[in-house]
Symmetry: D2
């Protein structure tokens, strides 16, 4: 991506890896919501945190990747402690933690790192050897990048959503919090607000972790229909209802109480209030979609939080410790859920612009670039 709105093909050398580096050949690289922001020039990231920064162009996008090991700079290991060798199929972590800040030294999630570097984002063409994004034939993975082996039976088009699935650890946390004050930790009711790729992964993970009832909302009816392949008890079309109607429908479905768990994955601030209305007394709201600052909302510390004993959990990224378990979980459920259908479009590199458009359009669910596909022939 040369600049906002402008994508071009460029060639770079693939150097021999330095010590600790792993070079992979990319099979698939997903288009993420962040990439869409980058494309639109909304380049302020991690606002309000220690690692707030502006993206610098040009950069090679793509941090949801799956590929094969081509070379390693000395012995390198996957997260099972098994040595990596040429031909191993892997998903690389999307981020590189510094290893020496407070958060790194105290076993916090790697995205808390105060000097975080991320592929396809902060790591750009300005740094040698430039190959730090997945919309490329090769990627150069820096030392301390966690590398996750793909289970043999997991197809590339499922493996490419691993990073997104690894963001859903908020559900694991929400379940832990649910259990802190009575009730049950399984068979719970859940409402997913927004069913793009992130919301869909949350929906699927909820099912796989013991949801008993799943409600979803989206402004795009097509996305709700897609989500229903994974089992919806109630689908609320936000293009045809207002927030009050949706809240009422959710209360009606839950003996007037609200759901145990709301997963706010819309990326739009207004659903945060909807989440607070939809959750029961003592329930949990996971705020997972708001990776980009879209402005404030009004809320009431008394009636929204305190009096109704609501917990809100912000989730700012994916865990390095969840990639490999996520792949195992998906591999174990290939027969039970249509996971292979999630990646709806795979395009060659020279159609990256079209891929980004598709990913924003709502016709598609997960869109990916496959650098091995032949480039589009120039019409003669």
């Amino acid at each position: 991506m040369e600049a906002p709105g402008r994508i071009a093909l460029r060639e770079f050398d693939v150097p021999d890896p330095e010590p600790g580096v792993v070079v992979i050949a990319i099979h698939l690289s997903g288009i993420c919501g962040t990439d869409k922001h980058t494309f639109r020039g909304e380049s302020k990231q991690y606002a309000g945190t220690a690692h707030e920064r502006d993206l610098e162009y040009p950069l090679i996008c793509g941090h949801e990747n799956v590929g094969t090991v081509v070379a390693t700079g000395g012995p390198a290991f996957d997260t099972n402690g098994v040595q990596l060798k040429e031909g191993d199929r892997v998903v690389p972590g999307a981020n590189v933690p510094c290893g020496s800040c407070y958060y790194c030294l105290n076993s916090y999630p790697y995205y808390f790192c105060q000097h975080l570097q991320d592929y396809g984002n902060s790591l750009n063409v300005g740094r040698y050897p430039s190959l730090f994004g997945g919309w490329s034939q090769y990627m150069y993975l820096l030392p301390r990048t966690p590398i996750f082996r793909v289970p043999d039976n997991l197809p590339d088009e499922v493996a490419v959503i691993t990073e997104v699935m690894a963001v859903t650890h908020g559900i694991d946390q929400a379940i832990a919090v649910l259990g802190l004050q009575g009730g049950s930790r399984s068979g719970f009711s859940v409402a997913v607000l927004g069913t793009g790729p992130l919301g869909l992964c949350h929906l699927i993970k909820s099912r796989m972790l013991g949801a008993g009832m799943v409600i979803a909302t989206d402004v795009l009816p097509g996305r709700l229909k897609f989500a229903d392949r994974f089992g919806l008890d109630l689908a609320l079309d936000a293009s045809a209802t207002d927030a009050g109607q949706r809240t009422k429908a959710i209360l009606d479905a839950t003996h007037g109480r609200g759901v145990d768990l709301v997963l706010d994955c819309s990326g739009v601030p207004s659903t945060f209030n909807e989440a607070l209305r939809a959750v029961r007394t003592g329930g949990v709201v996971v705020e997972a979609g708001a990776f980009v600052d879209m402005g404030p909302v009004q809320m009431n510390p008394n009636s929204d939080i305190c009096a109704r004993n609501v917990a809100v959990l912000g989730i700012g990224g994916e865990l390095a410790t969840e990639y490999e378990p996520s792949m195992r979980l998906m591999a174990a459920n290939l027969d039970r859920y249509p996971l292979t259908s999630i990646t709806t479009h795979i395009l060659p590199m020279d159609r990256a612009h079209e891929a980004v458009m598709l990913a924003q359009s709502g016709e598609a669910m997960q869109v990916a670039v496959d650098p091995r596909l032949p480039l589009t022939p120039v019409p003669s």
Copy 2:
């Protein structure tokens, strides 16, 4: 059950319910492992606890029940706070807590109650009106019995395993404990030792709560085969292997580390040691099958527990708060798992003796009595 080994049909009056009582007509009543012990005269229960006691015969067995409300003594409510009316299909709690002991007054599991009464066990024919077990046309549910409404789409033959499924809350706890010191709370590996009805329910619950790899052992190859319908990554026939071989197979399947979670559901003390061998450093062993005292085992506090940082969780019964969520969870997964196949045999009341024998034999998985079935015609 008149006495150990002797079952007879008897008639009792069904009185009008006193205040707080609910009378139900039984659809199905399961044969539980405890019933098998009762039948064999192994009648010492809850050894070592505040409510250790000897069963008194005669009694009407059956505490895994599903039926319909026939009458209530004044307003009565299900656990959603919805009033019960005639014809409502329900599963009653297997136990009646006293409501005034330390454990009852401090929100502990209801089976911690120091004066616990249980249907088909401590509640026997000596107490008016005798109808305190499910191998009967009607049951007389005392005040403070929790009563759980069955979801419309959940068939009786699945609802009858609700009580067993409600014992599997040890898995929810184990997941919470797994998350206390690193790693992930989903995609975990699990070994289930013993795949009778209790073990099978643990296996299914593991899958439904996010297991990434499931291993099972049993001395009955038929049970392993049955369990495989729910997805086994490794089945270890304990009739054809020794403990060392099984341990080695489990280590080989897990990079030499052992599984994250072992669910000991065999009812035999010796598997406790096998569990401690099969679990990884920092993993969790759930001891759920040992409801009857079958003698001690040797274990080493250093190498089995301390040095390998193992957690052991004893689970002594089912939670009142898990029946309804368990039904919701099963109802939500009817399409994904062959839950309707678990109840393999349904017999009329006069064949209860045969039902107990079947349940012990290994030919069957869950066996139930249906008091609505016509009695076996006497050969003329």
Copy 3:
């Protein structure tokens, strides 16, 4: 309290207790923040919940009570399951749950009850025999009221703050949540916003549960000085600083990161934003003071919650399961903390009006009424 702003002495009969009832003679009854609202006519309570209601006057205030058992209607038990007898010193629960709604039947906190009745609030003079508040010589405790025995060595003036201390279970929860994603669960840093009686109890509880650094803010410098008796690492006078200065001071004290835990006990909505600024990435905000609706605030789901991975826990009341442990914890720490100094003023019943004024004034910390004190002599 006859009406907002008007308090009068009245006489009522003390009837023989009905079955399940316990009558106590009051030693001390505290003035709570809620009482102050009631006095000011701000009588809308639990806004937005299933049990939102308007208080009805007249009522006898006082739900923070300690007294002695005078009579029981049949056998009654404390929460250790020990039978109560005349002369036993007890603290009664401030609320009476219905026992038959969803929340009551599923082991949720008793204040989640959908038909909650509370002493000194919803239970008023309109209901026979009127004696439902602690600003009275006797109280008539309804069946299902949990009753907690006072440890022998715990003086009345400490026992009277038990209910407030039982609200601080948000800290126990916050510690559990802290431990869900790295770092440590002890030695944590904490900021308490607002150090009235509720904030002070939170501060003390933090210390007693393992705080390593405690920061406090208040608009009343006298309260900060009082709080410092329990150990402050940093006291921020909100009457002499603005929010930005306080945030900066907190960041400066914590390597620029913010504290692990913020306890918002001010009762003023604006501190909610301050809390979100003061907490570190991955930290926890407990919102415990907002029992009355004081209007909304603006917040940003992205930068306040999601990007910084913040958890917010609303705490809507005290747990029945925390009264007795709170008393044991205070009894065990009488030598280590000046707990006996917290109740700064004890007045006779006829000076209740003055007591309410004092409690609002900031000269006092905890203020209590002692109905055994002689009434103020009428000047002749």
Copy 4:
């Protein structure tokens, strides 16, 4: 230590630090239980784990250390991410994790590392530059050793017990587990079995994390007396009572139920059974003292674990994430507990043999070596 039972003074060069290395001058180095085993030639460690090994002599003992930074090989950081400079007072981690095994790569406790190296144990004189133990003027800290800055107000004689205090994270975990099924997470009752330095630290940590009642047992009455400085509700002299009497005394003190939490810190296997007798239904046993294999015990999976719903947590070492919080917690409580009295004896290096004897004798609590003390003058 040249060989079991033989200690000698030797001189080594202190080389300039290689990249990532930190050299410190030792102030104090504690005598640990492990050192006593090493001295007795009981050199088999971590039996049953991936890093079981035999110690090799000679080695420099001492892994409980406090000292000052003398030199660093390039920039080095404490665990707050603050750069270390000459003169900084620090406690070094006792272990060095490999950074590339499964446990290291998945945020598990650092002592789970499959290739763990530990100062004063596996790191011996055979490896250049030999200075890997604290009974020495200087220590050479390898890269990846976590280094913890000592709070200014924490004296050396308290800082030297940091490593032991960091083992007590089992209590934090036990509290989390207690809260998983009802009751309260504070004001709990606890029994500490064995009150040597490890047991004493557990006792103190229990107090600092909210214990409401503390019971202790030891075979050495002097140690119980010492422990009582930190507040004992019941002291049980194991030299004058049998296990049955102690169990009865504990039940009598807890309404016949047993304690919420047992901390088994004796190092003797037999107390494991005592722990299982002393804990209440649903309580937690922490097994923390059995670092050396002292043989098996008999236990009953039914009555000891399953029927009484007991949880057992093995704790195999100290967390890197607990050193710094432990120091903050102790620093915050210097006025409330006589922490400075715990280190009862400080000896010069040439009296290390005597120090080991003292530490085994029971006259002492924590014993430390101070390499800055003048050597004992040779009698002329």
